[in-house]
C-alpha cells in the first residue's frame, strides 16, 4: 500500500513530545510534511528527515503529515509517527511493531 486508509493522530503537546497527525495522500502526491517546532531553527531539517524516513521505511509514498513538536527526540518522533500510522490502518513491518 502506498498510502494510508484514514486520518489518525498520536502524541501530545507536552514538553519533549510531538503530536503527529497523518492523513491519506492522493496517488502521486508524495510525502507532504507540515512542521511546527519550538526548535525549528536548530532541528527543523533533522525532524523532517526522520519523519520522511519513518514513513518511507513502511513503504508509504503518498501521505500528509502534520507534526507539532515540543522538543521531542528522534526516538519519540519515530514512535509517535508509527503509532499514528498504525491507528490510520497502515500494516507495519513486523520488526518495528
Amino acid at each position: 500500500m502506498a498510502s494510508i486508509a484514514k486520518t489518525a493522530q498520536a502524541g501530545t503537546l507536552e514538553s519533549s513530545d510531538v503530536m503527529i497527525t497523518v492523513a491519506p495522500g492522493t496517488q502521486g502526491s508524495g510525502i507532504v510534511i507540515e512542521l511546527e517546532s519550538i526548535v525549528l531553527a536548530q532541528y527543523g531539517e533533522d525532524i523532517k528527515i526522520i519523519l520522511e524516513k519513518t514513513v518511507k521505511d513502511q513503504g508509504i509514498t503518498d501521505i500528509y503529515i502534520k507534526a507539532v513538536d515540543r522538543g521531542a527526540l528522534d526516538c519519540t518522533i519515530c514512535a509517535r509517527t508509527l503509532a499514528a500510522l498504525s491507528r490510520a490502518g497502515a500494516v507495519l513491518k513486523e520488526e518495528i511493531i
Binding site: S16, L73, C75, T76, A79, S86, I97
Partner: protein
C-alpha cells in the same frame, strides 16, 4: 550478582520522563506499559518504549519493562518489546508457575537468535500469587526476582493498606522466604507517599531487616534513601572483612574451624560476609578506606 537495590517506575507514555529516567542512578528502571498508561494509549506507549529501548542510554541502570497482564496485552507487548533487548520483563499479577511458563515461551519465541536472554521478574500482587510464590520463583530459569505489589494485594485481602504495613507482613515474609529458597532476589513493594522521607526510611529499613534485597520506587526522589538503607554500612564491611580474615587464617593454619570473637564462623556466615564485600566492591565502597 545483579544489583537491584532500587527499581524505579517510569511512565511508558511520557517521553520527557523516559528521556531522563537514567539520571537518577536507580539500579533498575522499569518502563511501565501497565498502570501508568491510559487504556487508549497502550499502543502509543508500546511504540514509544520500543524506540526508547533502542536509542536511550540508561547508563548503569538495568532496563526492565512492565508489560500488561496476561489476560490483556501481554502477548503483543512481549512481541514488540523483547526484540528491543530489555534486560528483563516485569510481569504483573503473576498467580502461578503456569503464568511464568506461558510468558517464558512467548519471550523465547520473540527473542532474536543472538540476543542475551531476557530475564523475568514476577510481580506478586494477589493472594493467589503469594500462595504460589515458591513455585513461581522456581518455574523457569529466566526468573531472577520476586517483587511484591502491596496495593492490589491488600485490596485482594479486603484489608486497609496502612503506612505501618501490618497487613502485608505475612506476604512480605512469604515472598522473601520463597525467593531465598529458590535462590532468586526479593524486591519490596513501593512506599507510596513520595513526600514522607522519614516514612520511606523506616519502611525501607524494615524491608532490609526482613531480608528484601531491594525496593520498588515510584518517585526518583526516593532513590537516594533506598540506596542508603541497602548499602552495606562501614560496620558491615568491617565485620565481613574480619570474617574472611578469620577463614583465611584458619585455612593457613590447616584448621578446619575458624572463629571470630569466640564464635564459630560457619558457611552461612561466610556467604553473608562475601555478599556484603561483593556489594561494597560493586558500589565502590571499598576503595580508599583508611
Amino acid at each position: 550478582m545483579d544489583l537491584r537495590r532500587s527499581m524505579l517506575f517510569i511512565p511508558g507514555n511520557n517521553p520527557g520522563m523516559l528521556q531522563n529516567g537514567g539520571v537518577f542512578g536507580a539500579d533498575s528502571v522499569i518502563l511501565d506499559l501497565e498502570d501508568a498508561v491510559a487504556p487508549m494509549e497502550k499502543d502509543a506507549a508500546r511504540f514509544l518504549v520500543a524506540q526508547v529501548l533502542r536509542t536511550v542510554d540508561y547508563g548503569v541502570s538495568e532496563t526492565v519493562v512492565r508489560i500488561n497482564p496476561l489476560d490483556t496485552f501481554a502477548a503483543v507487548d512481549i512481541k514488540a518489546i523483547v526484540p528491543c533487548c530489555p534486560d528483563a520483563i516485569l510481569v504483573p499479577k503473576v498467580e502461578s508457575a503456569a503464568d511464568i511458563h506461558q510468558v517464558a515461551a512467548m519471550i523465547a519465541a520473540a527473542e532474536k537468535p543472538e540476543q542475551t536472554p531476557v530475564k523475568i521478574i514476577a510481580l506478586l500482587e494477589t493472594p493467589c500469587g503469594i500462595v504460589e510464590a515458591y513455585h513461581i520463583a522456581k518455574a523457569d530459569p529466566r526468573v531472577v526476582a520476586l517483587a511484591l505489589g502491596a496495593e492490589d494485594y491488600t485490596a485482594g485481602l479486603g484489608a486497609m493498606r496502612t503506612k505501618e504495613g501490618t497487613e502485608i507482613f505475612t506476604a512480605r515474609t512469604i515472598v522473601i522466604n520463597a525467593a531465598a529458597a529458590a535462590n532468586v532476589q526479593s524486591i519490596d513493594t513501593p512506599y507510596t507517599d513520595a513526600n514522607d522521607e522519614e516514612g520511606l526510611l523506616a519502611d525501607t529499613q524494615l524491608a532490609k531487616r526482613l531480608g528484601f534485597k531491594g525496593k520498588l520506587s515510584i518517585n526518583p526522589r526516593q532513590i537516594d534513601v533506598i540506596h542508603t538503607v541497602f548499602n552495606p554500612s562501614l560496620n558491615d564491611i568491617d565485620w565481613a572483612q574480619q570474617v574472611i580474615h578469620a577463614i583465611r587464617k584458619a585455612e593457613a593454619e590447616g584448621s578446619g574451624v575458624a572463629s571470630l570473637n569466640g564464635k564459630m564462623v560457619d558457611l552461612p556466615i561466610v556467604n553473608r560476609a562475601e555478599r556484603i564485600l561483593h556489594l561494597a566492591e560493586l558500589l565502590g565502597l571499598m576503595g580508599g578506606e583508611k
